[in-house]
């Protein structure tokens, strides 16, 4: 097999990606920019400024920024701790964070309902300890908790990946040159983990921004996110043009995230699985 022939090996894959990724994505553009009769309109996209839609978008953005920030704050020290444990090649790390995925995503989220409910497990424990009860179910706080719970691994793994690649002696060198623990962290470790942090932020922010399941289960029907609006247009409302138009708005945010990754994680360090 010569080189040209070997390139042919990628053809089935390229055809598949054209057929099932590129064409379907272009259909969203077509639907989103036309009305039911098929003529061009910007109304679907602009309907994002309708009161209910805009409110849902703003709430989605706020909740996903908050949960991304919490994930980052939780994941960075965690990844540092895991690195300091010097486990062999991180197989155990992946093990710990991938394993929950074998318990169904919806059931896992649903379990938080049992934990958080008014008469749920956490409140039973709190009452037993004579502590004030926690009433966050069906509020944005519960949704944030669900997001953090589900997406934390997406933040931990890329950060851990880049931290793993930092040579111990690079950190020792900073200490050797007089940096204390905090200075070593801010001047050496964090700057060197930027690719992983950016990947992690994107991997958490995008699904959090677009979820409709977590808000549905943990927010009752009281909290409406942009994901819920779009889902309803496709399943209940049956206005695919409107749903596609709103999806296009969402995709702007996704594209911004992708651009960030491309800028800060050139070698795809954080993306490796």
């Amino acid at each position: 097999m010569n080189k040209d022939l070997r390139k042919v090996l990628a053809f089935p894959y390229i055809l598949w990606m054209i057929g099932f990724t590129i064409i379907p994505l272009s259909l969203i553009f077509i639907y989103g920019l036309t009305d039911r009769s098929g003529s061009f309109t910007a109304a679907n996209v602009l309907s994002i400024f309708a009161k209910d839609h805009f409110k849902a978008l703003v709430l989605s953005i706020i909740l996903s920024i908050v949960s991304t920030a919490i994930c980052l704050v939780m994941a960075f020290p965690l990844a540092l701790t895991l690195k300091s444990k010097k486990l062999n090649k991180g197989s155990l790390i992946v093990f710990i964070f991938i394993l929950p995925m074998w318990m169904n995503f919806l059931l896992r989220t649903l379990a938080w309902l049992s934990l958080l409910e008014k008469n749920g497990i956490i409140n039973t424990i709190l009452n037993f300890l004579h502590l004030p009860s926690l009433n966050i179910i069906n509020t944005p706080a519960a949704i944030i908790l669900g997001m953090v719970y589900n997406y934390l691994p997406f933040m931990v793994l890329p950060i851990y990946n880049v931290l793993e690649k930092i040579d111990d002696n690079t950190i020792n060198a900073a200490r050797d040159l007089g940096a204390n623990t905090m200075q070593t962290l801010t001047k050496v470790i964090i700057p060197l983990s930027i690719p992983g942090i950016v990947s992690g932020i994107t991997m958490v922010f995008v699904p959090a921004l677009t979820t409709f399941v977590i808000s549905n289960i943990l927010g009752g029907s009281k909290v409406l996110l942009i994901g819920n609006v779009i889902e309803q247009e496709f399943t209940k409302g049956s206005n695919w043009n409107l749903g596609s138009g709103l999806s296009l708005v969402m995709m702007i945010f996704i594209l911004i995230s992708m651009a960030f990754i491309a800028k800060y994680d050139k070698d795809g360090e954080g993306m490796s699985v």
Partner: protein, 262 residues
């Protein structure tokens, strides 16, 4: 040094806290699967009933079967297409390679809801009726990128030198590939397959949009029952799946360690 000891203890505490956070819901579900009461927050005594009922429920069993078959087939097909494609991509020039890898990242970085909707619109535009095969195609689509990302790094590390050495020693290109290159990238292929299998098993959103009526996976079955109240048999099923995977992983880890020690 006293500070490093304090830091170590704090780190251990934090690790335990995260583990509790990650596994508390899972433990909850496992406990609920033995709860005689149907209520999610009242303990009605210990029972195995839900496990018995699980195997009698045609709905659950068919959803379970669909989930497994789709996860296995989609992971297998994605692994084949992805591994072959990785070989091709590896031989491309820089520019086409960058373009292909950028497209490869789309299903991974894109929101599941957008991927799901776009595939649904695509199937309808092509006149493919929604059902088992559309779920399968969708899962293959989002699985291929994971396989490629697992195989490509291994391929970069090994291929050139060993492959050329094999040719130098008189192997034909095909023999050289299967005797030398493939064993080298095999760990990547396997981890790609396992990742794809896991992703498929855990997917809800894309399945939700591409399944059509009359077919369910465990995820979609759970979703349809969220409002009506979940049958505890589903907890039982999840517990069985989780326990099986946990045992398999532990056994394979022990086996690997033994091989390493030898």
């Amino acid at each position: 040094m006293i500070y490093s000891k304090i830091r170590k203890v704090l780190g251990d505490f934090y690790l335990v806290f995260i583990l509790i956070f990650l596994y508390a819901p899972i433990a909850t579900l496992m406990i609920l699967s033995f709860n005689a009461s149907k209520s999610r927050n009242r303990w009605g005594g210990f029972t195995f009933d839900w496990y018995g009922e699980l195997f009698k429920s045609a709905t659950i069993m068919s959803a379970f079967r669909n989930t497994l078959v789709i996860a296995f087939l989609s992971a297998l097909i994605a692994t084949i297409i992805g591994t072959v494609a990785a070989l091709g991509i590896n031989n491309m020039r820089k520019v086409p390679k960058t373009v292909v890898m950028a497209v490869n990242n789309i299903p991974m970085l894109n929101a599941d809801i957008v991927t799901g909707i776009s595939l649904m619109l695509g199937f309808i535009a092509f006149g493919i009726s929604l059902g088992f095969k559309t779920i399968l195609i969708s899962h293959i689509t989002f699985n291929i990128p994971y396989v490629i990302l697992s195989v490509m790094p291994k391929l970069k590390q090994t291929e050139r030198v060993t492959y050329e050495a094999a040719l130098d020693l008189g192997a034909t290109p095909v023999t050289a590939f299967f005797k030398v290159v493939f064993p080298d990238i095999f760990p990547g292929v396997i981890s790609g397959f396992l990742l794809a299998f896991t992703m498929s098993l855990d997917d809800f959103i894309i399945t939700h949009f591409t399944k059509g009526a009359g077919i369910n996976t465990i995820s979609t079955l759970v979703y349809s029952e969220v409002r009506r109240g979940i049958k505890p048999s589903l907890y039982a099923l999840s517990t069985i799946i989780f326990a099986t995977v946990l045992i398999l992983l532990i056994v394979s880890n022990i086996a690997q360690n033994k091989i390493k020690k030898k």
